[in-house]
Symmetry: C2
Subunit: 251 residues, 2 copies
Amino acid sequence: MSEPTAALVVIGDEILSGRTADRNINALARFLSGLGIDFREVRVVSDDEAAIIAAINALRPTVTYLFTTGGIGPTHDDITAAAIARAFGVPLVLDQRAVDILAARYPSGGLTESRLRMAMIPEGAELIANPVTAAPGFRIGNVHVMAGVPAIMRGMLQSIAPTLVPGRVVLSETVPAAIGESVIAVRLGAIQADFPDVAIGSYPQMGERGFSTELVLRSRDAARLAAATALVRELVDTATRERKNPAPDKG
Amino acid sequence: MSEPTAALVVIGDEILSGRTADRNINALARFLSGLGIDFREVRVVSDDEAAIIAAINALRPTVTYLFTTGGIGPTHDDITAAAIARAFGVPLVLDQRAVDILAARYPSGGLTESRLRMAMIPEGAELIANPVTAAPGFRIGNVHVMAGVPAIMRGMLQSIAPTLVPGRVVLSETVPAAIGESVIAVRLGAIQADFPDVAIGSYPQMGERGFSTELVLRSRDAARLAAATALVRELVDTATRERKNPAPDKG
């Protein structure tokens, strides 16, 4: 049974220059997990029209839903709407619905040239409501174009949520282990081989008291997840008893 | 004058599931900025061999340096080394240099089957020293393969640094503005048009007291950067005097 899939294009020089640490990848990942939509890929590209178009057109045929963040404000460096229009081969037009939304937000006479820029939308797109600052995002085809400011992006996700077809949610269990992962790696691999329908991830962590490991099991099948988790817990208990002095490992 | 360029492939189900918020993109971005290397693109892919190979082979011909993070530990879900070997069409071999490094780290008899897995390296690769937990990364062609644990990744970056050819560092200036960006957008765009060699970014921020904007100017030419920054500061001063009541805007 094939589940819906998604990808994200993060648009912004500020991420690639290191000035800003992205927060939208994780927010979208958690949102999609809650809807049972498989998040397949992220690309981060600069404020460059050719780079944006290439990423959009490479990804949109491969997933159910494509999302973008960034580049839809009123300034010269906000080129996402124009790039998306070009990627779809449609004109960028002044959208009356968007004009009305902006007109209602600003005082009379406040709908300046630069603010009207935020009403330039690819022809044929649907608007995405912005519950935070009004200026809308938009959807064209399977591409959902959102703001880059994290609070606005999350508000837009809430507007989009009812329009997405959810999948079966992936269930997960976490088993903490106060040992390095190499101690259990072989036996963990054997459990994984017996449970191809349960993804078992091993995540080493460096803390003040040396290394520990988190084992994360994920599956859409609750019974199989429970069975695999029981075996992993037993393995960790056994290995912890075997080892008095946990040895650090690489992650 | 063409400067060195870079891209990154982040490998890890845990990023796409939302369990873990990536911290390596920003760390690499800051590292590259310091070396004057242009960071062009990031892709985040799952622990899937075909996805890893596709990303590696798409990006490595397009940049001077490609980096990867994640998937080089001792467990079954660590498949990066095998995927890289396949991407380059070379065998994955037990690397004696890596074996020696690991043997020196663990007590006698500690070089278990799972730990030896961390010495499986694509044939012809150079090792990347790991100052944190010993188990090395590696470089093959222009691809630098690093651990996903942030502290180890940063340690490996320090090992890699002397081997990279730096570019001219991009200088930057930040002009804070206690006004929404749409107020200055048109005049800011005019400055940008006069300074094509200075990238001017406008970053709205939502704080407790409403919206503000950070204007970030970036250029490799100090004199041009200074000239553009002076004009932007003057614009912000003028616009701040003009506006008593800053209006919020979308980012």
